[in-house]
């Protein structure tokens, strides 16, 4: 703790870079390790989805992490609350992704405490772009972290979502987006079902159906594991803050989707 010449800004990441560089994730070392193929076996998360609806934004993800062709974890979290009004969902290398979500949450809280006011949602989305740019060397070697950022913009009174690419590029999506190995199938599903201004129940059905479609076609995406009782994680971000949809509710919606598709044995 230094009074005179210490870092005096509002960014937690800059504070770490300037005063505690040893605490930052060492992306360069990851880069080197990824280049030699040492990191082939790291856990990867698969499909996540975000979409806008009447009250705000809904974000969901399956719970499976894979390492090459094997299951690394069946109940991993891919949807993180980064503060009271924003969510980050990640596909890609699980370790750096979780670290990124944690760092982002601390960054938002730090700024709010130092300045006495929370960042605007757009400022939060830009902060994430900066983190992804730092991750670029590792990403070029296949250690990709691909997030979706969603939140409730309290100034504009609406949900907003952003997607990113490994270069740190940031694009705002007006309707929905999905990333991860099953994203193509999830997007195809949402293309048919999405309708702007839908209600909470309607979007919940869209989201669960899109994840079911992704899990159906992509072996890397986990579906509902009814034996272990593991369901996709679905969270909403509205003027009331972050809320989680219960497993029971997700199971109910999932059952009703399956009921419409079930056919008798031949």
């Amino acid at each position: 703790m230094r009074f005179r010449d210490g870092y005096n800004g509002s960014s937690f990441m800059e504070l770490l870079e300037i005063e505690y560089p040893h605490l930052l994730p060492n992306w360069d070392r990851l880069f080197a390790a990824a280049a030699t193929g040492e990191l082939r076996g790291v856990a990867h998360g698969t499909t996540v989805i975000a979409l806008r609806f009447a009250e705000g934004a809904m974000v969901a993800g399956d719970r499976l992490a894979i390492s090459e062709y094997r299951v690394a974890s069946r109940d991993i979290e891919k949807v993180f609350a980064t503060d009271d009004y924003s969510l980050m969902a990640v596909a890609g290398a699980a370790g750096p992704a979780m670290e990124m979500a944690r760092l982002l949450g601390i960054q938002f809280e730090h700024h709010e405490k130092i300045e006495g006011e929370a960042l605007e949602l757009e400022g939060k989305a830009n902060t994430l772009a900066h983190l992804i740019r730092q991750n670029l060397p590792a990403a070029m070697q296949g250690l990709v972290v691909v997030p979706i950022f969603a939140g409730f913009d309290r100034r504009r009174r609406m949900g907003r979502i952003w997607r990113y690419e490994v270069t740190g590029g940031r694009y705002e999506e007006k309707e929905y987006d999905s990333v991860g190995s099953g994203a193509l199938f999830a997007r195809e599903s949402l293309k048919k079902s999405f309708r702007p201004g839908a209600s909470r129940d309607e979007v919940l059905r869209m989201v669960v159906e899109a994840l079911a479609d992704a899990a159906d076609e992509d072996r890397g995406t986990g579906g509902v594991d009814s034996v272990r009782g593991i369901y996709p994680r679905v969270k909403t971000c509205t003027s009331r803050g972050i809320e989680e949809i219960s497993d029971e509710r997700v199971a109910e919606v999932h059952q009703s989707i399956l009921a419409g598709r079930r056919r008798p044995a031949e």
Binding site: L15, L23, L103, K113, G116
Partner: protein
Amino acid sequence: MVFPYYVNPEQMTQDKREFARKGIARGKSIVTLEYDGGILLLAENPFKLSKIGEIYDRIAFAGVGKFSEFDRLRKMGVQWADVEGYRFSRDDVRGKALANLYSQAIGEEFNRSIKPFEVEIVVAEVGDPQFAGHEANALYEMDFEGTIQDRIGFCVIGGSDDAMRSHMASNFRPGLPLGDALRLGRDTLQRAENASPDLAPESLEACLLERERRRRKFRRLSADDVRGLLAA
């Protein structure tokens, strides 16, 4: 022959003390007291610049005296707490460690620099019933010399605080409801020599550390909240 410049250390320390006391006495005071649901921090402050701030989940900061100095101390506290929580875990960020760091930083400034800090600060830490060994509240008070005091129940910082402290001492009891604590706090602030006799809710800065709140327990009360609680 050139004589080296000599200053009697006793005289110098005395001068610095007097200087700091004078500076602090010009400002308003802050009271911090426990109530049945946590800790209340209350300042006479009609302006937008805050004297009370959130440090971490269970820890709050209050400062009197020179704004630029105590606000820099507040920011240092936030930096320290966030780095500590990132490096270890959220539960590892403790009020006592922060109070010790403050005490050292302020003490060093008093000894080394010609002009000491004109500040007094409080570090308040609310207990958490879910957290074994940390159920009790803690209040640490630091003066301009870095002297640290561990207070029980309440503390008063600021210049003309003798009348305030005795009013608080004779009226404070543990387990006050929030409304009563807020009234006692306001009555105490009104006893300061330089205070207005009738403090409106708009000229009070009131913040809480609420024990039952999850994770970040700090909450700033609006003037309407304060008005409602004072009337209740």
